[in-house]
Amino acid sequence: MLLSLMIFVPLLGMIVVLLLPRESEELIKRATLAFTLVPLVLAVVLFVSYDRSSAGTQYFVNVPWIDAFNINYHIGIDGLSVTLLLLTALLGPICVLASWRNIEKGLKAYMALFLLLETGMLGFFAALDLFLFFVFFELTLLPMYFLIGVWGGPRREYAAIKFFLYTLFGSVLMLVAMIAVYLNSNVINGVAEGVRTFDIPTLITLAGTTGHALADSTFQMWVFLGFFIGFAVKVPIFPFHTWLPDAHVEAPTAISVILAGVLLKMGTYGIVRINMAMFPEGLAIFTNGVGFWGNSLALLGFINIVYGSFCALAQTDFKKLVAYSSIGHMGFVILGLAAGNSAGINGAILQMFNHGVISAMLFLLVGVLYDRAHHREINGFGGIATKMPVYTGITTLAFMASLGLPGLSGFVGEALSLLGAFQEFELITILSTIGIVVGAAYFLWTLQRVFLGQLNPKYEDLPEINKREILTLVPLGILTIVLGIWPNFALDMFSESVTNLVNVLDAI
């Protein structure tokens, strides 16, 4: 109930906001804020009350929805999802605050769409029915398309449709795979009996049953691929990544935050939840280190890391740089997942959460600067540390967290991913560490070009970051530090679930 409430409160909020008069902007903003705060409170409640000692699903609701396909409204949380739910719920109000002043037109529609988006994201992380999962996955598309397309930058139309097309392409493959899974869900030893199901926990069990159609490794390989490409577009994994920089650059600040903070995580979450848990045999083909494909997943992670980092280095647009850095950092997630061992997967999941927090900070910070200077050209700044010391301080924190400075959250996930991956793919992991150096290079270089050196006289009057902006950044900053110092705070939530997953993977 609590969970359902959490998912659908933003939807309710959307309706309420739509009913409010267009002129009363303050009211709309406050209402939106309120409706995003409710999920946050609920998420915190869930996070705290979640029984960490048990890895099982909790707070589940399972009611029939579409009987014809045995589709149920089945939601529930385990450690992994509750962590990401918390992230999503946290970024909700922050993004509303970040949109407080700089949405110039159609505020009402903006807020309504944002609330719809939040419902989609929350639902996605809670869904335990494959169909429901897919519906929520896609539900984020429409609001995102509009949010980028209407409120974005100069090339927003292109960016919006590109985002939409890429993701749709991916989800189409996912749909095929999903149907294939459903159709085979009642076939044992070649005989179909009983009802088919979309229930994720059930499917996971079935996929581990000897003789079951779902357990067939060739079948698993194809289905794995179908889902994987769907999620890969979202992550995004090279070569499906080119929508990301465009989308980020054009999207308004808050939407970039959501995009980097949550939407990318949907891809990796899907990979963990579906690809790894349900198709371990399929996974093994791409990660067992044997044969032509055996290293492919790790290789993709590596390519993402190195490619994203070098691309980031080449950027002169602040936001694009951060966007490419996201690609690089998601590479660590993929690498960790490919490792398939405890350290790797835990690290990957932690990296998901951390990257959500850190990249959100980075985009918020870019937004702060953009709101003042109205451009993002890195070389167009210089020395603004003198004018904006607090801003510089927070940016440094975020940069350091992002480049994986120990003591801040970014490090833990990255390090664990690498530690885990090294056990399985030594060479690839070693090569991937290039990303660490290049990551430091582009962030420091940016720091230098934007903040250090002589103050660019154009920005003599640059106002310091204001209270509202600080308010959006502080919770994230605190999380960054807290998770850096005490990662168990988050890890505890899901390490049990991961242990189960690792046991499954090890059994292959």
Partner: protein
């Protein structure tokens, strides 16, 4: 008591920083951040001193579980042994003194509070590094000190040189850190833990390895050492340290002389048990080469701080050499003595620079206008390396300061004597001697050519050290003032700056240091994969060495003490003892000789001016150039990497222009110009291009289909009827 004490040691500076950061968010300052930070450091110092009592003979790690991943757990904790305590005291002591010094030195800086906050953060990080009982904790502290170093080098970030230097420092050390991280990954992959101590720790596990399995362990050891190469500025990653002198001088004293750079030595010492003969030798050679290279470069510098920077590099090489050659105790001992006298030297130079402060400010103004002229022309990673020396640091502007700044002069002289290895009264002599003796001892014991070579390197470096240090003293404090205008402005520093100098000067005498060594305070950990003679040798080494040193101080014959101490040991140990004893005597004599020679030459060159340094430089032009250009390391990095991509002529043009740049900048440039551009191109054209191509084809197909739709009805009928025929034919074919 241990845990609360360590907690206080860590939390006091952290709290000081946290107060600054939190108030900063509210855009406020704590009114006296300087006092707050200093007080925090003094508290930490007090607690560190208290900890001396707490060291037990069987140190146990005090751990808490930090990360639990089911099968694998990472714990965080403290490990307190004598080395830890020594390090704690060195760090807190130097840090406290630097804090006090900075109150005077940084007075009037617009970001005064911030400076102290950063110092506090650094102290915390360094202390955390020191007390950590596992590799992960060490790595965390390791990177955090790197961050602080970055922040403090770039403290005057308006200067482009400072902004470049801080970035270079961070990135260069990060290259090493990645190596260290890979080493950690190797250890983790093998042992499933990063804890060092305890039953499940790495050291215990290493002990059980078969001798055939240690090839990878050598690699892991060398990789871990890579971290130290970066942090401790060893060749070939040393180039950042001289640039780091762009930071305020107290920072140089604290971070880039006494503590952070020594962390590399500390790390290698901590990892002592996993070192294999191969990795030890690599470490020793790197240390030796560093010692020699840096010393030779230091000869020709004119920037007072850069001379000290190269000296630091050189001395760090020494320490590495010692530990690599198995002289664990000697290395750490030199670390301690060096920390004090090098901090003293830096603070002294800071005092001198401070004396020119008015000029400094003036110069700053000039720089401002100049910068405004080509404002932000520098947009690439590559920057024109600032080879020009700020006038207030240029020794050619100094001279005769001993009368103007007597206290500074005396304290610095003490430190110089110490570092030069002037015998018996100065701590530097003893630690250096111990290293030389240790290396020679091993060479003789193993009859190892490698160690003879290492000994020679160390000896030469010792001589050069004496030479350039006295060159510094002579150029700065003796002779006639070379820049009268500046000289007139110079003045002795205020008490708040002088007192730390005096304290450090006192610490440069061996009395204080000996206390610990005398009591068998340090027990070198066992090395499981160094051949047996070594095993038997190390243990007596420390005792004998210490005894030797301690008793000789009190006028007792070394031989006698050694006999007493070694007592009835195995014949082998007895052998080792004798060899060592002989080696030590030889080393001491030689070391005194080279030190004397160095000082003498320096006196002749720079005080008596019997020989013209310029003349020598002209005579040995190639050698001089080599030194002056710092062995072309920066150029090498730039050149090699550029050569990969840019054609030959351009390469040579760059050499001709004496284009000075560092590895980071080189890498950055290449990445920027070629690699990243290619990738950017790839991204836009190939990946996107493919998608766009598909889209175009789709679109074009749409256009084609549109063309069929001519609007003429009979065309449509053709399609219909032709379609029927086609369907039938196609189906017929199948």
């Amino acid at each position: 008591m241990v845990v609360p004490l360590i907690s206080i040691i860590l939390l006091a500076p952290l709290a000081s920083f946290a107060i600054f950061a939190l108030l900063g968010l509210a855009k406020r300052n704590f009114p006296r951040q300087d006092y707050l930070s200093t007080f925090a450091m003094l508290v930490a110092l007090g607690c560190s001193l208290l900890l001396i009592q707490e060291v037990t003979s069987e140190p146990t790690p005090l751990t808490v579980e930090w990360l639990s991943l089911g099968s694998v757990n990472f714990s965080m904790g403290f490990y307190l042994d004598s080395v830890t305590v020594i390090m704690l005291i060195v760090v807190t002591l130097v840090s406290s003194l630097v804090h006090i010094f900075s109150i005077g030195y940084m007075h009037g800086d617009p970001r005064y509070s911030r400076f102290f906050a950063f110092l506090s953060l650094f102290s915390f990080s360094m202390l955390f590094l020191v007390v950590s009982d596992n590799l992960l904790g060490i790595y965390i502290g390791w990177e955090l000190v790197g961050l602080c170093s970055y922040l403090l080098i770039g403290f005057w970030f308006e200067k482009d040189t400072a902004a470049n230097a801080c970035k270079k420092a961070f990135l260069t050390t990060r290259v090493g850190d990645v190596g260290m991280f890979i080493g950690m990954m190797m250890l983790f992959a093998e042992f499933r833990t990063l804890s060092l101590y305890g039953d499940t720790g790495i050291f215990e596990a290493v002990a059980t390895l078969e001798s055939g399995q240690i090839a990878w362990l050598s690699i892991a050891g060398i990789l871990i050492f890579c971290g130290a190469v970066g942090k401790s500025a060893q060749v070939p990653l040393h180039t950042w340290l001289p640039d780091a002198m762009e930071g305020p001088t107290p920072v140089s004293a604290l971070i880039h002389a006494a503590t952070m750079v020594a962390a590399g030595v500390y790390l290698v010492a901590r990892m002592f048990p996993i070192l294999t003969p191969t990795s030890s030798l690599v470490i020793a050679y790197v240390g030796g080469i560093t010692a020699l290279v840096a010393a030779t470069i230091a000869i020709v510098r004119f920037d007072i701080k850069r001379v000290l920077a190269y000296s630091t590099i050189s001395q760090l090489g020494y320490m590495m050499l010692a530990i690599g050659a198995g002289s664990y105790v000697a290395g750490l001992f030199h670390l301690t003595t060096h920390a004090f006298f090098k901090a003293l030297l830096f603070l002294g130079s800071g005092s001198v620079i401070h004396a020119f402060h008015a000029m400094h400010a003036h110069h700053d103004d000039a720089e401002h206008t100049e910068d405004a002229a080509h404002e932000h022309a520098d947009n690439s990673l590559v920057h024109e390396h600032g080879s020009e020396i700020p006038p207030d640091q240029d020794m050619r502007n100094m001279g005769g300061l001993r009368r103007k700044m007597p206290l500074t002069f005396i304290t610095m002289l003490i430190a110089t004597l110490s570092i030069s290895g002037v015998p018996f009264v100065f701590s530097g002599f003893w630690s250096k001697d111990k290293i030389l003796g240790g290396v020679l001892g091993r060479a003789m014991e193993w009859n190892s050519v490698h160690h003879y070579i290492l000994f020679a390197m160390a000896l030469i470096a010792a001589g050069i050290t004496a030479f350039y240090m006295f060159r510094l003293i002579f150029m700065t404090f003796f002779g006639e003032p070379r820049n009268q205008e500046m000289h007139d402005m110079a003045h002795e520093s205020p008490w708040v700056m002088v007192v730390p100098l005096i304290v450090l000067a006192v610490l440069s005498f061996p009395v204080v240091n000996t206390l610990w060594f005398n009591k068998d305070y340090i027990e070198p950990p066992p090395q499981h994969h160094i051949p047996a003679p070594q095993h038997a040798y190390v243990s007596p080494d420390s005792k004998i060495g210490d005894a030797n040193f301690g008793f000789s101080l009190f006028g007792v014959s070394t031989a006698q003490a050694a006999e007493e101490d070694a007592g009835p040991d195995t014949a082998q140990a007895d052998d080792a003892y004798h060899i060592h004893h002989r080696a030590h005597n030889i080393a001491m004599v030689l070391s005194i000789c080279v030190a004397g020679l160095g000082i003498l030459l320096s006196w002749l060159f720079y005080h008596r001016r019997r020989f013209s340094a310029e003349g020598v430089a002209t005579t040995f032009r190639p050698v001089y150039n080599l030194f002056w250009n710092k062995y072309y390391f920066d150029e090498f990095y730039d050149g090699v990497l550029v050569a990969l991509t840019v054609w030959k002529s351009r390469l040579f043009a760059k050499f001709d222009l004496s284009f000075i740049d560092g590895i980071v900048n080189g890498v950055g440039k290449i990445t920027r110009d070629i690699f990243a551009a290619f990738i950017g191109f790839f991204d836009n054209r190939v990946v996107d291009g493919f998608v766009n191509r598909v889209a175009e084809v789709t679109w074009a197909a749409g256009g084609r289909i549109r063309k069929i739709q001519t609007g003429a009805i009979q065309t449509y009928l053709f399609v219909v009827l032709g379609g029927i025929v086609l369907i039938i034919l196609i189906f017929r074919l199948f």
